[in-house]
């Protein structure tokens, strides 16, 4: 297709948006609503993940060691540092453990002195697990290490966190999927009406020998433009709404809210991914809708 033809067809597509502006406006409106909901679902999921991730990182796994020598301890430490799902590895010797313990018990000097003579505490490693859903496997791996007597891990927390994550993940996908289909139907309806409004013109085009591609092009452009405009509008709206809400949360003095507030994502952290997602959804729906449904209604 020549550039001059493309320019002409592009202009025709744009004109059509304006000629059918009530319809275009309606579809942009509904698309924006859908994409806002999609955006909210995505941001909600991201924030839940961020908060859950914070909780997840607070886990602590304790490795209680048998009475082994220093060289074995440093071997274990190397192994731990090389494990993918493990981070923040700290060695707590039995002496350090004792100090910790006595501080926790109120810093009783006498008791400390008495215990120092015959320290009942073991050497331990404390570490954190990156992905709690893999906790059990990691725990088994740790228990299998030579010189490790026992592994204490927060199994119940891990289960809760993994559960929340999968619910949020599946829920997010379902919501986004449903809204995507709704948006597609809206675009399809717009295209159907536009095709109907222009049936006379289309008929004439066929008589003068226009190819199918030529007839479809303005509809494709119309669909893409409606998708693009909707993406940008919903991005702007979501930005404004989210920033407003995030500020409210930050300002809140409620104790539980201020506990999670540092883990609320700021729009600045996520704008790029949101914009890309919106553009893909908007332009994708526009393209798909017009390609499929113009073919269906045009019968060219």
């Amino acid at each position: 297709m020549k550039t001059s033809s493309f320019k002409y067809l592009f202009k025709e597509g744009m004109k059509s948006i304006w000629k059918n502006r009530v319809m275009s406006f309606a579809s942009i409106g509904v698309l924006v609503a859908c994409m806002l909901l999609i955006g909210i679902a995505i941001l909600f999921t991201m924030n839940i993940n961020s908060i859950v991730g914070y909780v997840e990182e607070q886990n602590e796994v304790v490795l209680i060691l048998e009475d082994v020598d220093d060289s074995r301890i440093s071997e274990i430490e190397t192994t731990l540092n090389n494990m993918d799902n493990v981070f923040d590895v700290r060695f707590i010797s039995k002496e350090e453990g004792l100090i910790d313990q006595s501080e926790w018990m109120g810093g009783d000097e006498e008791l400390l002195e008495w215990l120092e003579e015959d320290n009942p505490l073991p050497d331990t490693f404390r570490l954190r697990v990156r992905d709690l859903s893999l906790l059990e496997a990691t725990q088994n791996q740790l228990a299998a290490l030579e010189g490790v007597e026992q592994v204490q891990a927060p199994q119940d927390v891990a289960q809760a966190v993994t559960g929340i994550k999968s619910v949020v993940y599946v829920g997010g996908i379902v919501i986004v999927g449903v809204l995507f289909v709704v948006s597609l139907l809206i675009i399809a309806n717009t295209i159907k009406i536009t095709v109907f409004n222009r049936r006379k013109e289309i008929n004439i085009m066929k008589f003068v020998g226009a190819t199918d591609g030529f007839i479809r092009m303005p509809f494709l452009i119309e669909g893409i433009m409606i998708g693009l405009i909707s993406s940008l509008l919903s991005f702007g709206l979501l930005w404004a709404l989210y920033s407003l809400l995030a500020n409210k949360i930050m300002e809140s003095t409620d104790s539980w809210i201020s506990a999670i507030a540092p883990n609320i994502l700021s729009f600045g952290d996520v704008w790029a991914s949101i914009l890309v997602i919106f553009l893909i959804i908007g332009v994708g729906i526009g393209t798909l809708g017009s390609m499929v449904f113009v073919r269906k209604h045009l019968k060219v």
């Binding site: 297709m1 020549k2 001059s4 033809s5 002409y8 000629k19 006379k200 013109e201 008929n203 004439i204 085009m205 066929k206 008589f207 003068v208 020998g209 226009a210 190819t211 199918d212 030529f214």
Partner: protein, 239 residues
């Protein structure tokens, strides 16, 4: 140019519109096609323009065997035809210039060539001064001339006119037919379907009469055919 061999067309509802029709139109001819309403004239045109496909027989137009034409080849075939209709079929929200340029745009003609070709054709049909007018501002005769300009702008070897004077005053009708004759003199084959007895009788051209789905007469205008042919008195025969 146009050749039908033993063509039969039966619609899905059982109506047999054409029965074993054979006819041949040579390059450069001017042919009137006449016949009463429902005789099969419209079906004949639809077969020639590949809106419909015949059930049996063979239709060849401009070197294309239409029964074998693939869907994607239809646009190319249509570009070798000029078509004019009773109801003009102009696009109402485009001015005269754009209506004519439209036929060139769909065939990927460069803007530069469009700017040369459209004014020339509008001059040919006598509408050079109305290029900016909208179709609704024109008389029926003028609208038909715009349609004619649009059908000719691609230089088609075959022009098909389906009751082109059906919605036009008698004096203006004559002008349109004279214009078609002029176009024919320049080498374009013209096929004109009409109801208008008077008009046909004024010109000494080949007349094909269709009746009950068959060719009942083919030759010079004899003036002697049945009055029933003129049912409808020159008005719509839009099946």
């Amino acid at each position: 140019m146009v050749e039908l061999q033993n063509v039969t067309k039966k619609y899905d509802n059982g109506t047999v519109a054409l029965r074993n029709v054979s006819l041949k139109i040579e390059k450069g001819e001017f042919v009137f096609i006449v016949g009463p309403s429902g005789a099969g004239k419209s079906t004949l045109l639809k077969l020639i323009t590949r809106e419909e496909i015949c059930n049996s027989g063979r239709v060849e137009v401009n070197g294309y065997n239409l029964s074998r034409l693939k869907r994607r080849q239809i646009p190319r075939f249509r570009r070798s035809l000029g078509m004019v209709f009773q109801d003009f079929r102009l696009i109402p929200n485009m001015n005269v210039y754009d209506n004519v340029a439209f036929a060139l745009r769909v065939t990927n003609v460069a803007d530069r060539d469009i700017r040369k070709r459209v004014p020339y054709i509008l001059g040919l049909v006598g509408l050079a001064s109305k290029a900016k007018a909208m179709p609704e501002q024109l008389s029926g005769g003028e609208q038909q001339r715009v349609a004619l300009a649009r059908s000719l702008v691609n230089n088609p070897p075959l022009l098909i006119a389906d009751e082109p004077t059906g919605n036009i005053d008698p004096q203006l009708s004559l002008e349109i037919v004279q214009l078609l004759m002029e176009i024919n003199r320049c080498g374009t084959t013209v096929l004109m379907v009409t109801h208008e007895h008077d008009l046909v009788s004024r010109f000494d051209k080949r007349v094909i009469t269709i009746d009950h789905g068959t060719v009942s007469n083919d030759g010079e205008y004899t003036g002697g055919y049945d009055e029933s042919i003129l049912v409808g008195g020159g008005f719509n025969e839009n099946e």
